[in-house]
Symmetry: C2
Subunit: 206 residues, 2 copies
Amino acid sequence: MHEYVRDGAEIYRRSFATIRAEADLGRFDAGEARVAVRMIHACGMVDLAADIGFSPGAVAAGRAALLAGAPILCDAQMVASGVTRTRLPAGNDVVCTLRDPAVPGLAARLGNTRSAAALELWRDRLGGAVVAIGNAPTALFHLLDMVAAGAPRPALVIGVPVGFIGAAESKDALAASGLEHVVVRGRRGGSAITAAAVNALASEEE
Amino acid sequence: MHEYVRDGAEIYRRSFATIRAEADLGRFDAGEARVAVRMIHACGMVDLAADIGFSPGAVAAGRAALLAGAPILCDAQMVASGVTRTRLPAGNDVVCTLRDPAVPGLAARLGNTRSAAALELWRDRLGGAVVAIGNAPTALFHLLDMVAAGAPRPALVIGVPVGFIGAAESKDALAASGLEHVVVRGRRGGSAITAAAVNALASEEE
């Protein structure tokens, strides 16, 4: 039998303590630090802190939207799977439209990826929503273009797509957009880090 | 309108070309390199290559098991969500037992996490399976203890849990276990990297 910590609550407590001891969280206020700690927890890298960025009102906007029952709009099923339903304060809907049968046709018409085209099905719910993009840079770029063209504005955009083609650029564009946002600058990101940010905003329980 | 690459196939092609240009894949044979490229793609970090480890027969064992219809046993729903069903060669089952109603009781009885206890429900399907652990170190430790105590041996264990408490140790234990394995040594890992390894083994199409 291997020797290891078997108590889930104790594992969380020690993990968060390790992160707070090792990560440079000095740039963040208390609410931002709570979100950053969970994002770091999801990827195992304390140096992620240097790449995390918040707009000044991001945490308050996200928290208020979730308390008011805003839906969480996800670009990928993995992001939706990572949102802990029991932490949500208002039974919030967690929505991913990527597998909707309309999406392949929309993608062909738009000349864009299915990940981007799926956002067209968000329009009715976009106003005041919490958007969580953890996979596709094309989805984040398309969201910014939709909003610039007059689509309803979400309360918060967690924009943490990952990868080598467009990811860093899409996050820089979000940071410059005037929307309330959480980003991880550069190539790093992904569904786990994105879902962790949602989970941090959803409940003040560590 | 932002300027960005909107063609999904072209994004994949350029991403993989960037990874092959930047990552040090010299330690790997061709099959291992294909898996490593997809794991790097999932996290945006070319230096992950230095921490990826394969047992000598891992890629062949995983590929043969999937072709033969082996189930893919996942510790977390996010891992299961990340497996691209259309790449699977034999309509393989993708199984996650974490939300089974029996799990909380099993966890209490075992004095372990729910992630570890959920593996008790794998026993009937464990022989020859592809195991994909992308979240919980406790699940990987418990798997190793189950096999050491006589449980059926999986064909391959993709052991890539993430985090600060037990993750590195659990992956070192897997690497020393004699089981065919893929690991990412250290704290890094997660469901996206784990699912990417499954997706690479599932199809030879890049």
